[in-house]
């Protein structure tokens, strides 16, 4: 190895092309060695690198105590690690202040928090909440619940045949009754990357705040919430190679300060008497109870891991895989890719003529190829394309062209078996 090269160069684009990252993930490394596992389900949840596992292990082994409470040194160590992770999320999203980052269980909890504390106080009967037809159920159902409760109306930006948002319709859908626009940055079922800066600009022209579901975006592309100017940005740690049960919400401080608390409990108060309580400043007032300390620390380690490789390298590499995948899968007769936007993350959602996705999934599993089949928690997308389900191969930092070739070979075998 050339000692002159920096760590970043060593772990850059060429490192990814050679499948170098696979060795960082013990489950994949061992399963690949034993049974040739091809893991193509990172959009559901990504595998974990050793550095994340180690960070969690180290915390519990030698750094653990409850945070924000103890005067003893160990508690201060844990507090610094937890708050340090908040700083890592801040830098990762390009937020101005670390206090603008609230830790949650994941994107789903983040969206529910915002529905409750940000949107609910702004909404009356007849007001409108605008989402899109490509949302994950977690960015649909909280708004349906809120509409049922308040009498507000849920509207959506429709899809095009390529699986893009029909943005021409956006200006007319943003009315003087629209109280919020909630939109995904990247679609989990289609892979489409939405033109977020433009969407935010159009919404802000009508004074409509924008909540972004970034769960599928952060593992694939660099995010700068200040450049995007979005009001909130929500993501999950586990899709970003971090632990489950932790995620974060970025919000502009002016919004956090104006929002009522969500859950009550310890750590979110300044003082409590039997009559009333006064609340801590954001972000503490939105983090009631002992948080997922190890999760946050693990997420911080995951962000360090991704940063070491570089999100720009990752995006460039995944674009290569996307182009190769389109070509390789294009050679499988009867295969139709659902979601053909020119701006996509490395996600291949597809149907195979004459074979249902569940049958495809079971056959691929017998070849140790792990894919997701079903509606991907995005039934409105399936309805739009008039299909019951798709097979989805979603790629991560550890996948290579060889994985796509294995997928195509598996699909050809399936066609032969089903004689289609």
């Amino acid at each position: 190895m050339d000692p002159v090269k920096t760590a970043t160069e060593k772990r850059g684009l060429e490192f990814l092309r050679q499948g170098g990252a696979l060795a960082d993930f013990p489950l994949l490394r061992d399963a690949r060695a034993k049974e040739k596992l091809v893991f193509l389900d990172s959009a559901a949840s990504a595998q974990k690198p050793q550095v994340v596992i180690d960070a969690v292990d180290r915390l519990y082994s030698s750094e653990y105590a409850n945070i924000h409470r103890g005067v003893y040194r160990l508690s201060q160590v844990a507090t610094e690690l937890y708050e340090g992770a908040r700083g890592k999320v801040q830098n990762f999203l390009g937020a101005a202040k670390s206090e603008e980052i609230v830790f949650v269980r994941g994107a789903t909890e983040g969206l529910n928090l915002l529905a409750h504390s940000f949107v609910r106080p702004r909404v009356k009967a007849g007001d409108e909440i605008l989402i899109t037809q490509m949302e994950h159920h977690s960015n649909i159902v909280p708004w349906q619940l809120l509409c049922q409760e308040t009498g507000a109306v849920l509207k959506f930006v429709p899809l095009t045949a390529d699986g893009e948002l029909e943005l021409d319709k956006l200006p007319e859908l943003l009315t003087d009754r629209t109280r919020v626009l909630a939109v995904s940055h990247v679609s989990n079922a289609l892979g489409t990357i939405n033109p977020l800066a433009e969407i935010v600009r159009l919404a802000h022209e009508k004074n409509v705040p924008v909540i972004v579901d970034g769960a599928q975006a952060v593992p694939h592309l660099a995010v700068d919430v200040q450049a995007l100017d979005c009001d909130f940005y929500v993501f999950s740690g586990h899709k970003l190679y971090g632990p489950t049960g932790v995620g974060a919400v970025y919000g502009k401080m002016e919004h956090w300060r104006a929002m009522p608390p969500w859950q009550g409990g310890g750590d979110m108060i300044l003082s409590v008497t039997m009559e009333k309580s006064t609340y801590a400043e954001p972000p503490a007032c939105f983090e009631a109870g002992t948080p997922n300390i190890a999760g946050a620390v693990g997420l911080g380690a995951a962000i360090d891991y991704v940063n070491e490789i570089g999100l720009d390298n990752l995006t460039a590499y995944e674009n290569e895989l996307l182009a190769q995948g389109n070509e390789i899968l294009g050679q499988v007769p009867g295969l139709r890719i659902i979601g053909t936007s020119a701006h996509k993350a490395a996600v291949f959602s597809f149907v195979l003529d004459g074979v249902h996705p569940h049958d495809v999934g079971t056959f691929l599993d017998s070849d140790n190829i792990a894919v997701r089949t079903g509606h991907h928690c995005a039934q409105p997308i399936m309805d739009y394309f008039d299909i019951p389900a798709t097979t989805r191969a979603s790629l991560g930092i550890y996948n290579t062209t060889a994985d796509l070739e294995a997928l195509a070979a598996g699909l050809l075998k399936i066609r032969k078996f089903f004689r289609v």
Binding site: H358, D359, Q379, P388
Partner: protein
């Protein structure tokens, strides 16, 4: 793919690709002895409407509409073929044996008693697919239960998600 050949036997492939009794009963009305039940597998999107026509003694007609995988389609198709013309008591016996074969921890004493339906025995080795095979049977179970219960004749929806882990 030796294990998969157990799962996707010729009979399953045939019924999966060319399902029998794959039609609705229009004007399915309780007054005329017809009950229908919708079934869903919410996790995978399998959808089914099962129609059963009975004089109270035997099942005179069974048919289904739906969309799903080969296992689900074949199970629905073979259910309608196997049970048409059978008495309700016979249907119950076959139904309990079929569901037991796929969901109980014990081996079914006499899977051959199921006739052609024993072909689904292999599904048990694929826990994620058990619910595909049981969906039409759970819909039938629900129809029989509602017919037994005078007040429970309302057409509703069921799902076989609890069968997921086999």
């Amino acid at each position: 793919m030796s294990d998969l050949r157990e799962l996707y036997q010729e009979l399953v492939l045939d019924h999966g690709q060319k399902p029998r009794n794959n039609r609705p009963i229009h004007d399915c009305d309780h007054e005329k002895g017809c009950t229908h039940r919708e079934g869903y597998n919410p996790l995978c999107g399998d959808k089914l409407t099962l129609y059963v026509k009975s004089d109270g003694e035997t099942l005179d007609d069974l048919c289904f509409e739906g969309s799903g995988c080969a296992i689900f389609t074949a199970s629905s198709s073979m259910l309608t073929e196997a049970l048409k013309g059978k008495s309700i008591a016979e249907v119950r016996e076959i139904m309990d044996e079929f569901i037991g074969m796929l969901t109980s921890g014990e081996k079914v004493a006499d899977p051959e008693g199921l006739g052609k339906l024993a072909v689904f025995g292999g599904v048990k080795d694929f826990p994620a697919r058990v619910k595909c095979a049981t969906l039409p049977w759970r819909a039938l179970e629900s129809i029989l239960a509602s017919r037994e219960n005078a007040e429970g004749t309302a057409d509703g929806a069921i799902n076989s998600n609890e069968d997921q882990t086999g």
